[in-house]
């Protein structure tokens, strides 16, 4: 009458997938992919989280309303992160000496009092 009952095999399969995902995440962390390490790690985490939401939390078998709500939560989280980062990543973009050249690393960070300047391109100014 109420709720979908998943077979135990589903749960064990998801558990196995989550463990494999964890192992992969750790292994890949030691491989130098440069800037791609972060998106790969996040991508694996998102996959694992999706499995938990769909199968452990039964979202796959729940009403459309619940699916809509789950999507909404992450949509607005993306807004929070994304729109704030549009500010952070473009401060001083081409309008301020030492401002962003576009990559978003190193030289755009504020100078911490007393610390050595950030490595990359500061010395040019």
């Amino acid at each position: 009458m109420v709720g979908h009952i998943s077979p135990k095999s589903t749960y064990y399969a998801v558990f196995a997938a989550l463990m494999v995902g964890t192992a992969i995440t750790v292994a890949v962390a030691f491989v130098n992919l440069g800037s791609f390490n972060f998106p790969v790690a996040i991508g694996i985490a998102i996959t694992k989280a999706t499995l938990v939401v769909l199968f452990f939390m039964h979202a796959k078998y729940s009403s459309k309303v619940i699916k809509l709500f789950v999507g909404t939560a992450f949509f607005f989280l993306a807004i929070l992160l994304g729109m704030t980062m549009t500010d952070v990543l473009s401060r001083g973009l081409k309008t301020y000496p030492g401002g962003a050249g576009g990559s978003g690393y190193g030289e755009r960070a504020p100078r911490v009092p007393g610390a050595a300047p950030a490595a990359s391109r500061e010395g040019q100014h």
Partner: protein, 534 residues
């Protein structure tokens, strides 16, 4: 007269039956009491502000004390009056009735949300009486995290706690609307008040947690010297502003959407006409809720954010005005060729339209990036948001309160005094905040209690207006309370209004309806019946 009928008010009398009630109607009344008290407290701070500003010198209050006055005025009015007023009072009372339900989805959580609200209020009041807080209701770092000696943490804790009240109410309402509508009550037969409350609940659920974590992070930074916002470590004080305004901008839509819902009900009833463009008004509520999350950095145009980002936020701020404009046009179109019945709720509603229009248009002025560079942090902004918050939200609340008062109490108030009060409040409001637009345009900064002599005339006009406004609100309080003792019996439907809440007795039964209502008609079928009114 026969024996007194059973109502939610008279079926149990003990204090415990109120403090342990799970009845949404009693909870709504209890919220009314606390919010009214908060309104007085916030008004007290406003009185001191306007008294101080009547003269150019800082002669009534010290600098620090003045900072505390505007801070506490803002904190109390935002978190303890405007955010809860319509949803927690009118929403709690009316929503289940409008849906044909026996109660909200989670009655015990509803009661919990009231207790959480009261505890948060007590924390905040305690912070105020033991020294106050002087950071501005916006709590900007680094002043709030490093330098202020006032009760920042205690106030922050009070705000944090109260946020949960807002979240629980929003959660309750959303589930109620999704799962407890009467048979036949499809989404597009819902009164527009329900759409407005639904959109508000969406904002409460998505936005409030962000201010919670912001205030928590601030409290920990202050108390334990963590350093998330600390520039000396390389931190970004503007990060605080991003986190703060991500909630606090949508918060203003929490404050305005439910009053707009009430206005829809009032205008339909007192124009004897269905709301023009029902689905546009319904969708505009959702659009405001969603778009409202995309514009927060328009409060930060001069804080040092990227100019490109500011352009985007400015553009989106213009976009968010569109659904509000749709509503305003549709309300006006509803009144056009309607049979206007000029009772007190309608006078409040018409005042709302005029004042919200001015507030909205001046919002567009501030949304222009270049203009905002000059008027940010001046009285222009103060006037703009008071036109929306007081001229809009509070007027809308009063419109709804006067509309549903007969349902809540079973009594009619004095129509003459209600009309008098509405006019006095309108006149007092315009006199208070109209001059502030000019002051801001001329350059008077906000949050200053010392100003150049040439601004005094306008300030005196504003303070005089504030005294008239206060008198108007007092008159409202007096005749509403008097109605409880001397008001004539309202009957089930004194306004001949549509809506399920008007099909049951006034005051309603404890369990709302004798029999489960079944809905077969559209929302505002005013055109199908002719009524003669006095």
């Amino acid at each position: 007269m026969a024996s007194t009928p059973l109502t939610y008010l008279n079926h149990e009398h003990s204090v415990a039956s109120w403090l342990l009630t799970k009845d949404h109607k009693r909870i709504g009344v209890m919220y009314l009491l606390v919010v009214t008290l908060a309104f007085f407290v916030g008004g007290l701070f406003a009185t001191l502000i306007r008294l101080e500003l009547a003269t150019p010198a800082g002669d009534l209050l010290s600098n620090d004390d003045y900072n505390k006055m505007f801070t506490m005025h803002g904190v109390v009015m935002v978190f303890f009056v405007l955010i809860p007023a319509v949803p927690a009072i009118l929403g709690n009372f009316v929503l289940p009735l409008m849906l044909g339900a026996k109660d909200v989805a989670f009655p015990k959580i509803n009661l919990l949300s009231w207790y959480v609200f009261v505890i948060g209020f007590l924390f905040t009041v305690y912070a105020m009486v033991t020294g106050g807080v002087d950071t501005g209701w916006t709590f900007y770092t680094p002043y709030s995290s490093r330098a202020s000696n006032s009760n920042v943490m205690m106030t922050g804790i009070g705000v944090f706690i109260t946020g949960f009240s807002s979240i629980l109410t929003g959660l309750n309402f959303m589930v109620t609307i999704h799962r407890m509508r009467a048979p036949g009550l499809t989404w597009f037969r819902l009164p527009l008040f329900v759409w407005a409350v639904y959109a508000t609940s969406l904002v409460q659920i998505l936005g409030t947690p962000v201010i919670a974590i912001t205030v928590l992070a601030l409290a920990i930074e202050r108390g334990l010297h963590f350093g998330i916002f600390d520039a000396a470590l390389g931190g970004d004080p503007v990060l605080f502003q991003h986190m703060f305004w991500f909630y606090s901008h949508p918060a203003v839509y929490i404050m305005i959407l439910p009053p707009m819902g009430a206005i829809s009900e009032v205008i339909a009833c007192f124009s004897r006409k269905s709301i023009f463009g029902y689905s546009f008004v319904a969708f505009s509520s959702l659009a405001i809720a969603i778009f409202g999350f995309l514009v927060w950095a328009h409060h930060m145009f001069v804080s040092g954010i990227s100019v490109y980002s500011a352009l985007v936020f400015s553009f989106l701020t213009y976009a968010v005005a569109i659904p509000s404009a749709v509503k305003t046009f549709n309300w006006t179109a509803t009144m056009y060729k309607g049979a206007i019945w000029l009772k007190a709720p309608m006078i409040w509603a018409i005042s709302f339209l005029a004042l919200f229009l001015v507030g909205g248009l001046t919002g567009l002025i501030t949304a222009a990036l270049g203009v905002d560079v000059h008027i940010h942090d001046t009285y222009f902004v103060v006037a703009h948001f008071h036109f929306i918050m007081v001229g809009g939200a509070v007027m809308g609340f009063f419109a709804g309160l006067h509309f549903w008062w007969p349902k809540i109490t079973g009594r009619m108030y004095s129509e003459i005094w209600a009309k008098v009060a509405a006019i006095v409040v309108l006149a007092g409001f315009i006199l208070t905040f109209g001059p502030q637009f000019i002051l801001g345009y001329l350059g008077m900064p906000r949050r200053y209690h010392v100003y150049p002599d040439e601004f005094q005339v306008l300030n005196v006009l504003s303070s005089a207006g504030a005294s008239i406004l206060a008198v108007g609100y007092l008159i409202v309080g007096i005749y509403l309370i008097a109605s409880l003792f001397k008001g004539e019996d309202a009957g089930a439907n004194p306004w001949h209004a549509t809506g399920l809440e008007w099909t049951t007795q006034s005051p309603p039964l404890p369990h709302n309806f004798e029999v489960q209502p079944i809905v077969t008609r559209e929302a505002y079928e005013y055109g199908t019946q002719e009524v003669t009114v006095g």
